[in-house]
Amino acid sequence: MDETTVISCTVNGEAVEEIVPARLNLVDFLREKLDLTGSHVGCEHGVCGACTVRLDGVIVRGCLTLAAQVNGATIETIEGVTATGEVADLQEAFLARNAAQCGFCTPGMVMSAAELLTVNPDAGRAEIRDFLSGNYCRCTGYQAIIDAVETTLAGRKNGGSTT
């Protein structure tokens, strides 16, 4: 029924070529075709941020982006940034501060926080709160998440790890 299109892109450093339905969104593409289930589907409305992934270096909502749009692009997911170790300190800080309870929002939250860490290394708590306001978490009340991001920022400033 659906029209299809062929896309080739780089996902977590690997070249991917797939035939996809024209209406398939990016997060479903990642989850269903590539088994990258770390990106979650929370609302499919572009509000909750559980589906946050990186597209050509910038975070996007996987549920508001079509797979067809990523032809020729580079995509990174939670699996990818975990493998490269670029957010190891952030992940460690999340773990230490119990910043994930059910964990469903966490991969998206980590992806968003990772962007903040690079675009605004001097962020204070107010800016962290503001930046993460596009990612819902129903469990933690955010305090632990903000603490974890703050710890990571401080750790990076000191040029060392957070521990």
Binding site: G38, G42, H45, Q91, C102, R125, Y136, R138, Y142
Partner: protein, 769 residues
């Protein structure tokens, strides 16, 4: 037993998987080729007779493998969890907009959805009851109204020096667990069914799936590793999709997944009960209550579900932390044509408490006394006087006076009150408000029989341990806490223990992980299992190793037997070689609790958990917008089993409560359609809504009851701490008119409602003058 893990801030056992995206939720399970996706079509009508249902075009739609309606259900249609009233698929009529009509299984979700649209259904509309007042006027109740009484409220009211009455409308709340309802049904031999479900209540779900399939519980297995949030919303509400998936799997012989998308989830599944509270109280010149009469009217929606237990809990919390000498507390379980309201963190308790907190607030303003002083004067006593609740349970460990004193000091309450008064006097548009609210929350299921739990512990002969219990993991860290208990029993490191998915084949007949009781019940059951194994090991050591059985001590991965130290692994290996069973089930039934539903008297709760919060808000009197500037919380977790996890419950509970009371608005149109069924219109708190200054501390103490590790349950109570924010907003609104008049402000206190309350109070001030 060693105390190496209990009391420590051990990370959540799944934390490393959560932060890397490796934790597997139901929707992540790789399904076999040929699996199908189910879609459930929902009623557009709030109340109607179904006059015809033609599904032939649905059946012939591309990709469709099966279409089922009520007539295709092989077993029972009703899946009401306690009382009947919830058809798995509509059976001749519909009672709320969003009710399941029929289910389709197709190769893809979009094929199933597209097919469902082709149904041809006709209805005869019936009158729909869409609000509490209409239900009351028409006598539309789930059960007849009932009351808890103590003393003689009417007589005492008549004699009281001062009287006040008021009412409060309390909004409901969608759970908005980030992971929506989802289940996978895998058919097996002999019509057996394996269900992967995101449920807080695997045993009930097992039973209900068996029931709709016309089978028995032995034929159905339910497994749940983790949920992506639940908050009560997956206690009974996980069952319909699981039953529908099982029916489709039976019809097709294939694996079927049913996952509700956010809009469907919000329209189809139950929520926190909206309530109206009407009250009339009498009090003396100091604000001390002589008498109180409360009417609690709950919007239960169309079916009983858990509403009776929820209304019970609301009535049990009408006192919050306050002594009521004379009280008449009436409950009305209103039946309306809305989705059936269900369990949600606090289970009616928060609505119960909000009523009396409104009373305290109004008395304070009426007498011109600070609300904190009225609060303190009405607290339960500590010395065997003024300690009986309206339902007859004694408040034996009332720590509230001490706890409130500590919080009053640590939050600089009096100082800030002075500053806020000055601020409000010098600012015409921005108004600040401050409030301290206490909480006392009863711990135990109010249906006494539910207070039981089982566990299964296997010690393998290499010294590693597999741990199972009947509780479910929804993010609260239950598995971690129970593992801490077992690790300390055996004196082994946590990584010697594997916590496996909750599985009805391992621990049967479990209660829901609910009522904050997960750790209390399952921790004790797991300890019981471990102690059974240890008793066998002690007997073995006495017999074979000549040890004094009483004197085994387990610590640091070793067992000290008299003078000898063996590794735990070496010791259990020897026991195994001597044919000692290293596997045991454990059981726990909460002691002391008794409650007589006929007289509505007894001891429904094993113990109480306490807490208090101070919130400071600023309100823009021109727009009604507001924010919490600072919140200070002092919470009683007893001797916390895991301060990191408990802190998370407190922080998360407060923010979730803040959402309930200030931003999350359920809005039904005149036809009974929920219009706020997506995050675009339904606002849960975001990171920016967190108080910029948020200070959370534990009250230092321990559970006087012999609860696991002398801890206290901490899942639900913190939600109620957010009432301090609501009453701070009320304080700010009252300041617009000189803090003398009581604002009429309902919840959620959205900017719109706050603005209306401000306009209203200004008008009343002006007519007074």
């Amino acid at each position: 037993m060693s105390n190496q893990h209990m009391g420590k801030a051990v990370p959540h056992d799944s934390a490393a998987k959560h932060v890397t995206g490796q934790a597997i939720y139901i929707d992540d399970i790789v399904l076999p080729a040929g699996h199908l996706h189910g879609y459930v079509s929902m009623s557009p009508k709030a109340h109607a007779q179904i006059t015809s249902m033609d599904l032939s075009a649905v059946r012939t739609s591309p990709g469709v493998a099966a279409v089922i309606s009520a007539t295709d259900v092989p077993g029972a249609i009703d899946i009401g969890p306690v009382l009947p009233g919830d058809p798995v698929l509509a059976d001749g009529w519909v009672e709320y907009a969003g009710q399941a009509l029929f289910a389709v299984a197709a190769g893809t979700e979009s094929e199933a959805r597209a097919a469902a649209k082709r149904a041809d259904i006709t209805y005869d509309d019936l009158d729909a009851i869409l609000d509490i007042e209409t239900a009351r006027a028409q006598g539309s109740y789930i059960v007849e109204p009932y009351a808890i009484t103590v003393g003689d409220a009417q007589a005492a009211l008549a004699k009281s020096a001062n009287q006040l009455s008021g009412k409060l409308a309390i909004g409901g709340q969608d759970h908005f667990y980030l992971e929506g309802q989802v289940a996978v049904a895998m058919p097996g031999e002999d019509g057996d069914m394996l269900i992967y479900s995101s449920t807080q209540h695997p045993s009930e779900l097992q039973h209900l799936v068996a029931k709709v399939l016309g089978k028995s519980s032995k034929d159905v297995t339910v497994e749940v590793r983790r949920m992506g949030g639940a908050f009560g919303g997956k206690e009974t509400q996980a069952a319909p999709v699981a039953c529908q998936a099982a029916l489709l799997a039976t019809a097709t012989g294939r694996v079927v997944k049913v996952r509700l998308d956010r809009d469907d989830d919000m329209m189809a599944t139950g929520k926190r009960h909206p309530f109206h509270v009407n009250w009339r109280v009498g009090f003396d010149a100091d604000g001390v209550l002589d008498a109180a009469a409360f009417d609690y009217l709950a919007d239960c929606g169309y079916s009983p579900d858990l509403s009776l237990a929820i209304l019970d809990r609301a009535l049990f919390h009408a006192d919050n932390g306050y002594f009521l000498k004379n009280a008449l507390i009436r409950g009305f379980a209103c039946k309306t044509n809305k989705v059936s309201m269900t369990a949600f963190r606090g289970f009616g308790g928060p609505q119960g408490m909000l009523g009396i907190e409104a009373v305290i607030d109004d008395i304070a303003r009426h007498l011109g006394i600070d609300r904190l002083d009225v609060t303190k004067r009405n607290l339960y006593g500590r010395d065997g006087t003024r300690d009986a609740t309206p339902y007859g349970q004694r408040v034996e460990d009332n720590i509230l006076p001490e706890l409130i004193d500590q919080l009053e000091a640590s939050s600089d309450y009096r100082q800030r009150r002075t500053e806020i008064t000055a601020f409000n006097a010098s600012h015409s548009h921005l108004k600040r408000g401050l409030a301290l609210t206490p909480l006392k929350f009863g711990i135990s299921f109010t249906a006494t029989f539910l207070n039981q739990a089982g566990a299964l512990v296997h010690v393998y002969n290499d010294g590693s341990i597999q741990l199972n219990h009947g509780g479910t993991e929804m993010g609260q860290g239950l598995n971690t806490k129970v593992a801490q208990v077992v690790a300390d029993e055996f004196g082994v490191p946590l990584d010697a223990i594997k916590i496996t998915a909750t599985h009805t084949g391992k621990v049967p007949n479990t209660s829901a992980t609910a009522a904050s009781s997960g750790t209390d019940l399952n921790g004790m059951a797991a300890r019981d299992a471990a102690q059974t194994i240890k008793a066998r090991l002690a007997a073995f050591a006495a017999e074979q190793l000549g040890a004094d059985g009483e004197n085994l001590s387990y610590a640091d991965g070793n067992v000290l037997i008299g003078e000898k130290t063996l590794t735990f692994a070496g010791f259990v290996r020897q026991a195994y070689m001597h044919r000692i069973s290293l596997s045991a089930s454990g059981f726990y039934a909460t002691p002391k609790i008794t409650y007589d539903p006929a007289t509505r008297q007894g001891r429904p709760f094993f113990y109480y958990a306490y807490g208090a919060a101070v919130s400071e808000v600023v309100v823009d009197a021109l727009t009604g917008e507001h924010r919490v500037l600072r919140a200070d919380i002092l919470h009683d977790a007893g001797r916390s089993l895991n301060p990191a996890l408990d802190l998370g419950q407190i922080e998360g509970g407060y923010i979730q409560g803040l959402g309930w009371l200030t931003t999350e608005e359920l809005w039904w149109d005149g036809e009974g359609n929920l219009k706020t069924h997506a995050p675009s219109t339904y606002k849960i708190p975001a990171a920016g809504d967190l108080p910029a200054d948020f200070r959370v501390a534990f009250f230092q103490g321990e559970n006087r009851e012999d609860n696991i590790g002398r801890s206290k349950a901490v899942g639900e109570p913190p939600l109620m701490l957010a009432s301090s924010a609501f009453f701070a907003i009320r304080d700010a609104v009252a300041s617009v008119a000189g803090n003398r008049l009581n604002p009429s402000l309902d919840t959620p206190a959205t900017p719109e409602k706050v603005l209306m309350a401000i306009e209203d109070i200004k008008q009343r001030r002006d007519t007074e003058q």
